[in-house]
C-alpha cells in the first residue's frame, strides 16, 4: 500500500513504452522500490506505480503507467497514451531490433499525446556493455534529431534510473512554469492539487469556462 502523505501539489502521468523485454517494468520497479526484479513476468495491458518526488520544492506525485510491450497488446496500450505528461521510451542496448522499432514507438507517442508531452529515451541494460549492439553515439544522435532527452541506464544497477524519471519531471515542471503546458487542458497529464497547508504558488488562470466540451 502506498499510503502516503497526501500533501503533494501536482500529479504527473507518465507512460513507459517500448518493445517487449527491454526492461520497462524493471525500470519502474527500480525507481519505485529501489530493487531489481530479476524475473519480471510479462506485463498484461498496463500496470501502475507511484512515487512522490520533489521538484523545486514542490511535491509531485508521479503516476506511472507501465505498458505491456507484447505486440498483441499494442492496440490496448494505445488507449493509454492519452493525457501523459511524460513518456519514457525504452530500448535494450543489447538488442538492435528494439532500437530499430523506436521510430514506430515515437510515431505512436507523437500521435497519441499532446505536443507538450516530454519524451525521454532510455537505453536500458547499460550494465551489459560487453553485449552492446547499439552505440551510445547513434542513439544520442537519434535523440537529438527528434528532440528527445536521452540517457543510457541500468534497471539492474540503478544507474541513471532516478535521473531519467526526475529529469522528465523537471522538464514538465519547467513547461508549467513557462506556461507552455496548460494545466486546465484535460490532456495535459498534469493535475494540480494544492497541498492542504499553504497556497499554490502560481494561480492557475481562471479560464475553465473556455473548455469546449
Amino acid at each position: 500500500m502506498t499510503s502516503g502523505p497526501y500533501n503533494y501539489s501536482y500529479i504527473f502521468k507518465y507512460i513507459i513504452i517500448g518493445d517487449m523485454g527491454v526492461g520497462k517494468s524493471c525500470l519502474l520497479h527500480q525507481f519505485t522500490d529501489k530493487k531489481f526484479m530479476a524475473d519480471c513476468p510479462h506485463t498484461i495491458g498496463v500496470e501502475f506505480g507511484t512515487r512522490i518526488i520533489e521538484v523545486a520544492g514542490q511535491k509531485i506525485k508521479l503516476q506511472i503507467w507501465d505498458t505491456a510491450g507484447q505486440e498483441r497488446f499494442r492496440a490496448v496500450t494505445r488507449s493509454y497514451y492519452r493525457g501523459a505528461a511524460g513518456a519514457l521510451m525504452v530500448y535494450d542496448i543489447t538488442r538492435r531490433s528494439t532500437y530499430n522499432h523506436l521510430s514506430s514507438w515515437l510515431t505512436d507517442t507523437r500521435n497519441l499525446t499532446n505536443p507538450s508531452t516530454v519524451i525521454f529515451l532510455i537505453g536500458n541494460k547499460s550494465d551489459l556493455d560487453a553485449q552492446r549492439d547499439v552505440t551510445y553515439e547513434e542513439a544520442k544522435q537519434f535523440a537529438d534529431e527528434n528532440g528527445l532527452m536521452f540517457v543510457e541506464a541500468s534497471a539492474k544497477t540503478g544507474q541513471n534510473v532516478e535521473e531519467a524519471f526526475l529529469e522528465t519531471a523537471k522538464k514538465i515542471y519547467q513547461s508549467i512554469q513557462d506556461g507552455r503546458l496548460d494545466l486546465n487542458a484535460a490532456e495535459s497529464g498534469v493535475q494540480h492539487k494544492p497541498a492542504s497547508p499553504g497556497r499554490p504558488l502560481a494561480a492557475p488562470p481562471s479560464s475553465r469556462d473556455n473548455c469546449a466540451c
Binding site: M1, T2, S3, G4, Y6, I11, M20, G21, S25, H29, D33, K35, M37, D39, C40, P41, H42, T43, I44, G45, V46, E47, F48, G49, T50, Q63, W65, Q70, E71, R72, F73, R74, A75, V76, R78, S79, Y80, R82, G83, N111, L112, N114, L183, N184, A185, A186, E187, Q191, H192, K193, P194, R199, P200, A203, P204, S206, R208, C211, A212, C213
Partner: protein, 576 residues
C-alpha cells in the same frame, strides 16, 4: 494457432511466477495473471521451455489478425481530447476549487479566513498582512479629485480606530501581562493591513490613469517625488498624515500642470470615477472582512471579550489569575492539537483516498479509457453499415447488454459459518463464476486480503472501536480497488483473446459481479459484527461507525457495478 498463442504466453510466465509472488504483491501490481496451482483446472498446457524470444516470434504474426483496425480510432482520440474523464472528479474538483478561490480577491480573503479561523486564526491573520505587503512604492501620488475625497473620508476613520486600539493595548501591556503581545500584534498587523490597502487603492487609481492617458512627464514625476519625500519627512508620525499630505499636494497639480490635455480630463475623470468607486467598494469589502476578522480573532476562545477586557483593564474588579490564563492557553493548544489530529485521521479513513492508494482509481481510469476506445470502434463500424445491417448490429448490442443485467438478489446460498472457510468459499465462487470466461484471472490478491481481514478480526487482541472502523473502511476500499482491477484486467485480456464467446463471457462477468458485490457486503457485515461485540459505553459512536461502514459498502457496490458497465462495450465488440 490462435488459441495456442494465448496459452503460450501464459505458460511462459508460469515457471517464474511463484518465487516472486511476494515481491509483486507488495507492489500491488497486477501483472501475474498467470497460471497458479489453484487455477490449473482446464486446458492442456504447453511446455514451459519457451524463452521470451520464441514467445515474441510466435506473437508477431498475430499482430495483424483482427486488431489492426483498432488504430482507426486514433484520429478520433485527438478530437475527443476535450472530454474530461469523469472518474478523476475528485481531483478535478480540487482543481476547480483553486480556480474559484482565485476569482476575486475578496472572496479568497473571506473564504480562506473563514476556514482558517477555525484552527489557527492567529498566524493566518499575520500572513494576510504579509501577503499584501509586497506591493512596492506605497506613496504614489493620487492624481484625481473625486476619488481622493472618498478615500480620505474612509480611511482616516478606520485607521484612527485601529491605531487607538493599538495604542491602548500597548499601554496596557506595560502592565506586564504575558498575553499582551498577541493582542498587540494583531492590532499592529491590522493597521499594517489597512495601510497597504490604502496604498493599493491609490496605486490602482494611478495605474489606471497612467495607462489611460500615458505616463506623466518624467520631469513632473521627479518634482512630485521630491515634494513627496519632503512631505514624508515632515510628517513622521504616521501613515494617516502621509496620505493626507500626498493627496493635498498632488491634487491641485492634477488639475493644472499634470494634465496638459484638458479636453481629455472630463472623460478621464469620469472613467476614474467609476473605476475608483469600483476599487473602493472592493476595498470596502475587504475592510469589512478585516473588521470582522479582527473581532473574530479578539473573540477567539473568549466570547464577549471578557478575558481581553480584563486584560485591557476595562473590568478591574475581575482581574484574571495568571495561572488561570495559562491553563486556558494550554487547553486551547490541546484543542488545536486534537482538531489537527482529527483532520489527519479523517484523511486516513477517507474512503476515496484509500481507494486511490490501492490503485483503484487509476485502474478505473484505465478501464474507462479502454471502454471509450472500444465504443468508438463500435460506432465507427456502425456508421459504415447499411440501415438494415445497422439495425441488426444494434439488436446484437442490445442482446449482449441484456445478458449483463444483474439478476435479482438470490439469497439462496448458505454461507459456511466457519471463518477459516469463508475466504476459500469466496475463491471457489469466483472461480465457478468465471470458468466460462476463458481467461485466467488472478484472484489471489482479493482472496488474500479477505483472509487477512478475517485473521485480524479474530486474532483475539484488544481492539478499539476506532481501530475496527478504520480497518473496515480500508478493507472495503481495498477490496473494491482489487475488484475494479479484475474488471480492468479482464477487459484487457478479452480484447486480445483470440476466440471470443460473448454469451459465455457476459454471463461469467455478470456472475462475477454478483459474487463481488456480495463479497463487499459480507466484508462490511464482518466488521460491523465485531463492532457490536465490543464492550463499550459509547453506543452512539458505534452506531455511527456501523452506519458509515454500510454506506461505504454501498459505495463499493456502486464502484464494482460501474466497472462492470465499463466492461460492457468490451464484451459487445466480441459479438460484432
Amino acid at each position: 494457432m490462435a488459441t495456442s498463442d494465448s496459452e503460450d504466453f501464459e505458460s511462459a510466465d508460469e515457471g517464474q511466477n511463484t518465487p516472486i509472488k511476494k515481491d509483486r504483491k507488495e507492489r500491488l501490481s497486477s501483472s501475474n495473471y498467470t497460471e497458479n496451482s489453484r487455477e490449473l483446472d482446464h486446458k492442456t498446457k504447453k511446455t514451459q521451455s519457451s524463452s521470451t524470444d520464441t514467445v515474441k516470434n510466435k506473437e508477431e504474426p498475430k499482430s495483424s489478425d483482427g486488431w489492426d483496425d483498432f488504430d482507426i480510432g486514433d484520429d478520433e482520440i485527438l478530437v475527443a481530447q476535450n472530454a474530461v474523464p469523469s472518474n478523476t472528479h475528485v481531483l478535478q474538483s480540487n482543481k476547480n476549487e483553486t480556480i474559484d478561490s482565485n476569482y476575486s480577491q475578496d472572496k479568497t480573503t473571506k473564504k480562506s479566513e473563514e476556514t482558517k479561523s477555525k484552527d489557527t486564526g492567529w498566524d493566518d491573520f499575520d500572513d494576510w498582512g504579509q501577503d499584501d505587503n509586497t506591493i512596492e512604492d506605497p506613496y504614489k501620488p493620487i492624481q484625481t479629485q473625486p476619488t481622493r475625497q472618498e478615500t480620505k473620508s474612509i480611511y482616516p476613520d478606520i485607521q484612527e480606530v485601529t491605531e487607538k486600539l493599538a495604542n491602548t493595548t500597548t499601554t496596557s501591556t506595560t502592565g506586564g501581562w504575558g498575553w499582551g503581545w498577541s493582542v498587540d500584534s494583531i492590532l499592529t498587523t491590522a493597521t499594517a493591513g489597512i495601510s497597504t490597502l490604502t496604498n493599493q487603492v491609490s496605486q490602482g487609481i494611478s495605474t489606471v490613469l497612467e495607462t489611460s492617458i500615458g505616463a506623466p512627464d518624467p520631469e513632473e514625476l521627479a518634482r512630485q517625488t521630491a515634494k513627496e519625500k519632503e512631505a514624508k519627512a515632515n510628517s513622521p508620525d504616521g501613515l494617516e498624515s502621509n496620505i493626507n499630505t500626498n493627496n493635498d499636494k498632488v491634487d491641485p497639480k492634477s488639475t493644472s500642470d499634470a494634465f496638459p490635455f484638458r479636453g481629455l480630463i472630463s472623460e478621464v475623470t469620469k472613467f476614474v470615477e467609476t473605476t475608483g468607486t469600483k476599487v473602493i467598494s472592493g476595498g470596502l469589502g475587504t475592510l469589512e472582512t478585516i473588521g470582522k476578522k479582527t473581532m473574530e480573532v479578539l473573540q477567539d476562545g473568549d466570547p464577549g471579550l471578557a478575558k481581553k477586557r480584563a486584560l485591557l483593564g476595562l473590568a478591574p474588579d475581575e482581574k484574571p489569575v495568571l495561572s488561570q490564563i495559562l491553563r486556558e492557553a494550554k487547553a486551547k493548544a490541546d484543542e488545536d492539537d486534537r482538531i489537527r489530529e482529527e483532520k489527519k485521521e479523517a484523511k486516513e479513513v477517507h474512503y476515496e483516498n484509500l481507494f486511490d492508494d490501492f490503485e483503484g482509481l487509476v485502474h478505473l481510469e484505465a478501464l474507462e479509457m479502454l471502454s471509450r476506445q472500444v465504443n468508438m470502434r463500435i460506432e465507427e463500424r456502425m456508421r459504415g453499415l447499411s440501415p438494415e445491417k445497422r439495425q441488426d448490429l444494434k439488436e446484437t448490442l442490445q442482446q449482449v447488454a441484456e445478458l449483463c443485467e444483474m439478476p435479482e438478489d438470490d439469497e439462496d446460498d448458505n454461507d459456511p459459518s466457519e471463518d477459516t472457510f469463508k475466504s476459500e468459499a469466496f475463491h471457489e465462487r469466483l472461480q465457478t463464476a468465471t470458468q466460462d470466461l476463458g481467461l485466467k484471472l488472478q484472484f489471489q490478491p482479493i482472496v488474500k486480503q479477505y483472509t487477512e481481514a478475517i485473521d485480524w478480526l479474530s486474532s483475539g487482541g484488544e481492539l478499539t472501536e476506532k481501530q475496527v472502523y478504520k480497518r473496515a473502511v480500508a478493507s472495503l476500499a481495498q477490496a473494491t480497488a482489487l475488484s475494479v482491477e479484475l474488471y480492468h484486467k479482464a477487459g484487457e485480456m478479452l480484447l486480445v483473446k483470440p476466440r471470443r464467446s460473448t454469451a459465455d463471457e457476459a454471463d461469467a462477468l455478470t456472475q462475477m459481479t454478483a459474487v463481488l458485490t456480495k463479497h463487499v457486503s459480507e466484508l462490511a457485515t464482518l466488521f460491523t459484527e465485531k463492532l457490536n461485540e465490543l464492550q463499550t459505553e459509547n453506543t452512539e459512536q458505534i452506531h455511527n461507525y456501523i452506519t458509515n461502514i454500510f454506506l461505504e459498502a454501498g459505495n463499493s457496490s456502486t464502484y464494482i457495478q460501474n466497472a462492470f458497465q465499463l466492461a460492457l462495450p468490451i464484451l459487445q465488440i466480441g459479438a460484432v
